[in-house]
Structures are given as structure tokens and as C-alpha cells.
């Protein structure tokens, strides 16, 4: 057997490939094993291709509202096949980019499915049926997650879709039932509804975007209902029947729904099966590997990062954890404070939303006084000028210390705007520095400033 590698990464998603790149920078002899596509779900079947689709939807919406801006434009024709093709092209281009980056960094990439053997070496089953045995001083499991199925609605790739099917549809469905109003469900509901599909959204929890701040959920729910999406919250799917041309679904409250297709987006489960994890000392609980913020597990040589370790299941969180993990491995540190960084979460449906830190309910549950500031975008000059004066910026502070506990934005480019607060909170600025900072006029970002002022009773434009 060849000399062992310093690091073996299983999974080439945003956690794994970023970890491998950093490891190569740190001069670790690194090998990455990927069973399907470099770039993982994010790049191939997640974040990136959906952003391509949602950009199409946003552009369509703008064209439809062009008359408000004094532009007479006819209703555009939708070339659905081209819309989907562009999304695939974007993914393919970036996939090539990751391949190139890994090659340039000197990371050995092996195609195949990896698993731990009883002697703790890693066995790779290659696409051509050959197996290869690898040894490494350190291992990172970054195998990601897969969509959770509903027992009454198993995925069939035709009538019952996972997000992957929704990204590869051959025709625009006349009607679509989306089950699950988290980020994935919301984004597809928004995309298909904008293109003309009749969309119904069903969520078992009491509100859409259940992980978001309650104000964000309420605002978004109202906005999408106005946009034509039928929303049902606080109700589960009781039973379902898949017919040749449609799916019939009965909800627990007795309501019957039917649609041409159903998208099941009820969450993700970690990819821990078939990895031979029983030959390691890692602890798997509920299908997730137990790991800290730096990817350390209960096995000193096996690390785990990203979705396979649980939530928040976000690409940027996986990448950050991958970096922290590799840096710990390279430094030789056994342990150390594994403080979880602040992780912003973003939803690109219409309206867009983003948040970082605690939501108001969580902040209240700390039992210490807080201050909350809200600034509506209909008071923002820039938002009005661009015809997007819908949304708000909300900030939550600890009253005693002035610590920024959380921030939540709904409105145009919310996922871009949130970084002002992510940076501020990571640097532990208090309300004083945020107030001292000069924000350019006219910008949407001014609303961040106003929200902070509002939290301390001194807003200027409301």
C-alpha cells in the first residue's frame, strides 16, 4: 500500500472541497473522494441552480411591472426548456471550476463511493467496479444529506418530486403542491408560481419559514398569498394517492387537495448509511454524526463537517466548519474552544429574507431585557425609487450590554444586506458603533442604520 495521505476527505461538496483546498494550502497531502459531482448538492442540485431559476423569475416579475416604470412591454413568452437548461449550464460551469481549483491546489481527486473498512482504512468503490484502499492520518466525513421522504408520498421522480426533480422538470406543471415551507419549499413555490403554475404550500408547523423570526414569517406569508400562492400552515398530510395524471392529497384537517405534481421538501437526513462508520468511534445519533463546531467527533482521527453533522444545513456553514476543522488538524491542537460562528441564513423566494443570530422569541427566552428596532422599507427613499418598498429591517439588542443579538431583513437583496449585521455581530460591535457608522445615501443599507436607531428610540425617518 502506498504511503498514507495526511488527510482524506469523503465528499466533494462545499464542506469537503473547501476543506481539501485549505488542507492543500497548509501543505497536507490531501485526497478527496466524491461519488457523484464535485461541488456537491449546493453547486449541482441546490443553491446555485435554484438561484439561476429564481433570477429568471425575478426578471419576469420586473418585466411584468415595467409599465409602472413607464416601459410598455408585452407579457414575455416563457421558454421553459431554456430556463431549465440555463440552470444546468450554470451548475456545470461551476462544477468544472471546482475540478480546476482542486487540480491547481494539488489535491488528488478519486471518483467513487468511500467507506471505512474494519481496519479503519478507507475502501473506495470506483465507477468502473474496481476498489481501491486508501490510508490517511486524518479523515473528514463530509457526505452531506439527502431529502427526507414522506411515507405516504415516496419520491417517484415523476408525480412526487424531490428538489432534484423540481430542478430538472421537462415541462411547467399547471399545478404544484409543495409540502414543507422551509427555504427549499419556499424557493420552488416562488419560482413555479411566478412562471404561472398554480401553487399550494402546506406546512406542518404553525408558520411558513418556521426557523425565521416570527415577524419575517408573518410578512412573507402575507406577501406570497398576495402573489397567488395558497398557503396552509399547522396541518399535516394525512394520506395521498398518486394517479396517472395527478396527485390527490388529504390533509389532517379533512381538506382535499390535488395537483399535477407534488414537491416534498420536509427536511434533510444525514448521509451516514453505508460509510462503515461502525468501524470508527464516531457517534451517530438520529442519522447525524455528532461533531463540534470544528468538526471534532468522538474519534480523534475521524472528523465530520457540514450537513452530515446536523443543522443548520447550509453550504456556507459547511465550508466554514471545513476550514476550522482543517486548521485544527494542521495545527496539531487536540482541542480548544469550539465556538460556533454566527451563521446567516437566506431565503431567495419573493420576497427575499435573511437573518442572523437570535430571533425575537429566542432573545426573549434568555430572560434578560432586550431592545427591538424595526424599520419598514416603505420609509426608505431608495426602496421607493426602485419600486421595491416592501419589507423591513429588524434588529434585536441586549438592553444592558448593547450586544447585537439578532437581525432579520425582508426585502430586495436581503441576503446581501444581512452581512452588515453579520460582520457587526462577529466583531462584537454594540449599538454605539453601529450608530456612529456613516451609511451612504440613498441606499437600502441605510435601513440597517435606521433599525438600530429605532431600537434605541431615536429613528429619524419613521
Amino acid at each position: 500500500m502506498a504511503e498514507p495521505y495526511d488527510l482524506l476527505v469523503i465528499g466533494g461538496g462545499p464542506g469537503g472541497y473547501v476543506a481539501a483546498l485549505r488542507a492543500a494550502q497548509l501543505k497536507l497531502r490531501t485526497v478527496l473522494v466524491e461519488r457523484e459531482h464535485l461541488g456537491g448538492i449546493c453547486l449541482n442540485w441546490g443553491c446555485i441552480p435554484t438561484k439561476s431559476l429564481l433570477h429568471t423569475a425575478d426578471t419576469l416579475r420586473r418585466i411584468r411591472h415595467a409599465s409602472d416604470l413607464g416601459l410598455a412591454v408585452a407579457e414575455p413568452a416563457i421558454d421553459f426548456a431554456r430556463v431549465m437548461q440555463r440552470s444546468r449550464e450554470v451548475a456545470q460551469r461551476l462544477n468544472k471550476g471546482v475540478t480546476h481549483l482542486l487540480r491547481k491546489a494539488g489535491v488528488t481527486v478519486i471518483d467513487g463511493a468511500a467507506g471505512f473498512a474494519p481496519d479503519r482504512s478507507v475502501q473506495v468503490m470506483q465507477p468502473d467496479g474496481k476498489t481501491q484502499r486508501l490510508q490517511a492520518r486524518h479523515l473528514i466525513v463530509a457526505t452531506g444529506a439527502h431529502p427526507r421522504a414522506l411515507p405516504q408520498l415516496p419520491f417517484d421522480g415523476d408525480r412526487v418530486w424531490s428538489y432534484r426533480d423540481a430542478l430538472a422538470a421537462r415541462s411547467l406543471p399547471a399545478s404544484l403542491l409543495v409540502i414543507g415551507a422551509g427555504a427549499i419549499g419556499m424557493e420552488f413555490a416562488s419560482f413555479y408560481a411566478t412562471l404561472g403554475t398554480k401553487v399550494t404550500l402546506v406546512e406542518a408547523l404553525p408558520r411558513v419559514l418556521p426557523a425565521s423570526d416570527a415577524d419575517v414569517s408573518a410578512f412573507v406569508a402575507k406577501a406570497i398569498a398576495r402573489g397567488g400562492i395558497t398557503v396552509r400552515t399547522g396541518v399535516r398530510v394525512q394520506s395521498a394517492e398518486v394517479r396517472k395524471d395527478r396527485v390527490l392529497v388529504e390533509l389532517a384537517n379533512g381538506e382535499s387537495l390535488q395537483a399535477e405534481r407534488v414537491l416534498v421538501a420536509v427536511g434533510l437526513a444525514g448521509n451516514t448509511e453505508g460509510l462503515g462508520l461502525e468501524h470508527t468511534r464516531v457517534r451517530v445519533k438520529g442519522g447525524l454524526i455528532q461533531a463540534d463546531a470544528q468538526g471534532a467527533t468522538s474519534d480523534p482521527t475521524v472528523h465530520a463537517i457540514g450537513d452530515v453533522t446536523g443543522g443548520p444545513m447550509l453550504a456556507h456553514r459547511a465550508s466554514h466548519q471545513g476550514l476550522a476543522c482543517v486548521e485544527r488538524i494542521a495545527s496539531g491542537a487536540k482541542d480548544g474552544p469550539a465556538h460556533a460562528p454566527l451563521i446567516p441564513s437566506c431565503v431567495y423566494s419573493h420576497p427575499q429574507s435573511a437573518g442572523v443570530g437570535l430571533n425575537e422569541d429566542e432573545a426573549k427566552s434568555r430572560g434578560r431585557p432586550i431592545r427591538v428596532g424595526r424599520f419598514p422599507l416603505d420609509a426608505s427613499g431608495k426602496a421607493i425609487a426602485i419600486g421595491e418598498a416592501s419589507g423591513f429591517v429588524k434588529t434585536i439588542f441586549d438592553e444592558a450590554s448593547g450586544e447585537l443579538l439578532g437581525a432579520h431583513i425582508v426585502g430586495p437583496d436581503a441576503p446581501e444586506l444581512i452581512h452588515g449585521f453579520t460582520l457587526a455581530a462577529t466583531l462584537e460591535t454594540t449599538e454605539a458603533e453601529l450608530m456612529e457608522t456613516v451609511f451612504a445615501h440613498p441606499t437600502l443599507s441605510e435601513s440597517l442604520h435606521e433599525s438600530v436607531l429605532a431600537a434605541f428610540g431615536r429613528p429619524l425617518h419613521i
Partner: protein, 407 residues
């Protein structure tokens, strides 16, 4: 005033020590005599107490570092004013006249009173430190380039850094790691030291063991009588055993010796170590000149050493010397205990519980006796079996004729 903390000399032969543990965090207040850090010499790990009330400014030496005698491990503030401390705020005040008031407050706190070195701290950390009266100088920052964050302040456990905490992340590494094979917890520095010393002792010293039973019926009766006669002065069984060992050494000074790299060292006084179980583990203060002391003096010394041990304030000197330690497990219901010799000594006497047993008398009739099981572990490089057995018999005789211990 800023003052230095150095590696103290803990024993005659000590030239360097290893910093095992900091017991206070930078920025934390401490009282005189409170333990500040733990230093390990070749003999033992010792807590170094504070000489006066103060605040730890800086823990400059890292845990695990081996340092020469007298080298600095950190800095503390004794609370006394000095020139630098009064000069810095004045400079900050001058600066603040030219800036906006809110900003001036930040500038003033970012200029440390104790040195000219700029201390980088987040705004939140500076504000919390100001409100809590924590001196940021010397607080170890966990941020990039040592930037101090709110979570680095001594009060972090009860305050701030709330956003980071809110992100749910399972962290088995910080707590004991559990696997199907069991639960793994990293050993503390103290546990590692104890482990190292025990392994060294058991591997280097050729132990041999002698076990006997002493009839302590008379001693038990005498002890009750003495304690009833003078309730102010309580004698324990252990006091008698330590005294008996001391008398035995005085009778047989040839056993009072230890193996050293240079040769066999005979000790001048009949000192006896006494194992004390504390919350931090086992320690063994050494009682001096036991062979020449009255039982009441031994009881007094033992009590004082016990108090000091429980408070974690034994010095290296308190624990060094002596050829033998008495380790009493009698309260734990055990008949015999064969112990590992403390490094630097040549014997240890393991004491079991007092048992009521029937023994045949001269006419083979059963008689109830109170017996104490004892096991002497001895270093065969220093003692042969016959000498050790003779010594053990001396101890038994003293215990069986307890009046000799009181006389």
C-alpha cells in the same frame, strides 16, 4: 502596581518546574493565600498561593511549559497605585477633548493603564469590562491576533456571547466523548502527574510486601479512655499508628533510609508521611521528628497537616522527606491494603480495618480480639526482608502495648 509571578523554589534539589494549570483566569480577583497556579517539580505538583489580594493581569506562561526557577509565569496587580497607572488616564483624557463624547469613552478604555502596548478588544468586550471593573490588560484574547472578545472575560459564563451560543451545535469534544466502547475523558494535568509518578514508582522500585495482624484490643480501650478523659484532645487510631511507626524508626534507625541516584541516604530524624485523601486526590504531608514527639504533639501536627492538605495549601517542603508513609484505609472496610511506595521514600504502611475475630488462646479456646491488618511495602534496594520484618514487628509491639506510646 504590576508585579511578577515566578516559579518558586519548592525543594532543595529543584532547578525547574512545569506549569500544570492556572487556577485563576486573567482579569480575575484573588485573595491572599488562594492558589494561583500549579507547578510540578520532580517530586510533586504544588499549588502556588497568592502572597496578597490582587488581580491576575496576565498568564504569560503556557500550561505545559517547563520553566527555570525564578522565571516569570505571569503578572498580577496588587492594587497599589504607581506612576504609569495615573499617567495613562490623563493622556486618554486629553485625547477625548478632541473627539465626540461617545467615542472618547471607547478610546479611554482601549488605552490600558498598565503598559503602553495597545490592547485590542471588541467594543462589546470593552464595554462589559468597563461595567464589570475588569482590567482588560492581560486578558487572553481568543480572537484573531489575540483580540479580546466578550467570551474571554472572566464573567463570560454568565454574560454576553449569546449569539454564538444560540447556534445549536453538538459539541462532544468539549465534554466527555462517548462511544460504544465507553466514555473518554482527557486526564487533568494533576491526574497525569499522579499517573506518571505512580508508574515510575512501581517500575523503578522493587517492591516487596509483608503483612501482619496487630492485636489492637488494648489500644482501642485505651483510646476510648483517653478521649473520654479529655474531650478537648481527640486521638484517632491513625495518631497511634503514626506514633508507633515513629517509635519503631527511633528504635531501628537503620531502616530510616532511601535510595537515591548517588547512593543510599540515611535520614537524620524519624519523619513519617501521612496519606490524606482530598477532593483533588491523594496527598502525603510529612510529620517531622515523630520518633521524639509525644502522642498529643503528633495529633496536633497531623490535624494541622490535614487541614492544610484539604485546603490545597501544602508546600513542597510539607511533602518532602521521610522514608515512610502511613496510608490508612481502615474507614473503607478493607482487611489488607498493599500500597505503592511514594517516590523518594522506601516504605509505605497500608492499614486495614479493625476486625473483631476469634483466635485460639494458649489453651486453644476461642478468644475475641480486635485485629488490625497491616501490609508494609518496602524497597528491596534499601531493605532486606529480615530487617523489614523486624521493623514491622516493632510497630506491632508498640501498638499491642499502647501505654508505651502515651508514656
Amino acid at each position: 502596581m504590576r508585579r511578577e509571578l515566578v516559579v518558586p523554589k519548592l525543594g532543595l534539589t529543584m532547578t525547574e518546574g512545569t506549569l500544570l494549570e492556572w487556577l485563576v483566569k486573567p482579569g480575575e480577583r484573588f485573595k491572599a493565600e488562594q492558589g494561583l497556579f500549579v507547578i510540578e517539580s520532580e517530586k510533586a505538583a504544588v499549588e502556588v498561593p497568592a502572597e496578597a489580594d490582587g488581580v491576575l493581569l496576565e498568564a504569560s506562561a503556557a500550561v505545559g511549559a517547563t520553566l527555570a526557577l525564578g522565571s516569570p509565569v505571569g503578572y498580577w496587580d496588587d492594587g497599589a497605585a504607581n506612576e504609569a497607572a495615573t499617567a495613562a488616564p490623563m493622556a486618554a483624557a486629553r485625547e477625548s477633548e478632541a473627539t465626540a463624547p461617545a467615542f472618547a469613552a471607547l478610546v479611554a478604555t482601549s488605552a490600558p493603564a498598565h503598559s503602553g502596548i495597545r490592547q485590542f478588544a471588541t467594543p462589546l468586550a470593552r464595554r462589559l469590562a468597563r461595567e464589570q471593573g475588569v482590567d482588560l490588560h492581560g486578558v487572553q484574547g481568543s480572537g484573531p491576533r489575540g483580540r479580546i472578545r466578550a467570551r474571554d472575560l472572566p464573567s463570560a459564563a454568565t454574560s454576553a456571547a449569546t449569539m454564538a451560543v444560540a447556534t445549536p451545535v453538538s459539541a462532544p469534544a468539549a465534554s466527555p466523548a462517548s462511544t460504544a466502547a465507553g466514555t473518554l475523558r482527557p486526564a487533568t494535568p494533576t491526574e497525569q502527574t499522579i499517573a506518571r509518578r505512580l508508574v515510575a514508582s512501581k517500575q523503578e522500585i522493587p517492591h516487596f510486601y509483608l503483612s501482619v495482624e496487630a492485636d489492637v484490643s488494648a489500644l482501642m480501650t485505651l483510646r476510648v479512655q483517653l478521649n473520654e478523659a479529655n474531650p478537648q484532645q481527640r486521638f484517632t487510631l491513625n495518631h497511634f499508628i503514626v506514633a508507633a511507626v515513629g517509635r519503631a524508626i527511633a528504635q531501628m534507625p537503620e531502616v530510616n533510609c532511601v535510595w537515591t541516584a548517588e547512593g543510599i541516604l540515611s535520614l537524620p530524624t524519624a519523619d513519617v508521611g501521612m496519606a490524606v485523601h482530598t477532593g483533588r486526590g491523594l496527598t502525603a504531608p510529612v510529620l517531622r521528628d515523630v520518633g521524639n514527639k509525644r502522642l498529643s504533639e503528633i495529633a496536633r501536627d497531623a490535624a494541622a497537616a490535614g487541614v492544610k492538605a484539604q485546603a490545597g495549601r501544602l508546600s513542597m517542603a510539607d511533602m518532602s522527606g521521610g522514608a515512610i508513609t502511613v496510608s490508612n484505609a481502615g474507614m473503607h472496610d478493607v482487611t489488607y491494603m498493599a500500597s505503592i511506595i511514594n517516590p523518594g521514600q522506601s516504605m509505605i504502611l497500608g492499614i486495614g480495618s479493625v476486625r473483631g475475630v476469634f483466635r485460639p488462646d494458649a489453651d486453644d479456646r476461642p478468644v475475641l480480639r480486635r485485629e488490625l491488618g497491616m501490609v508494609l511495602s518496602a524497597d528491596h534496594r534499601v531493605l532486606d526482608g529480615v530487617t523489614a520484618l523486624k521493623f514491622l514487628k516493632c510497630i506491632v509491639q508498640a501498638l499491642e502495648r499502647p501505654l508505651s506510646l502515651v508514656a
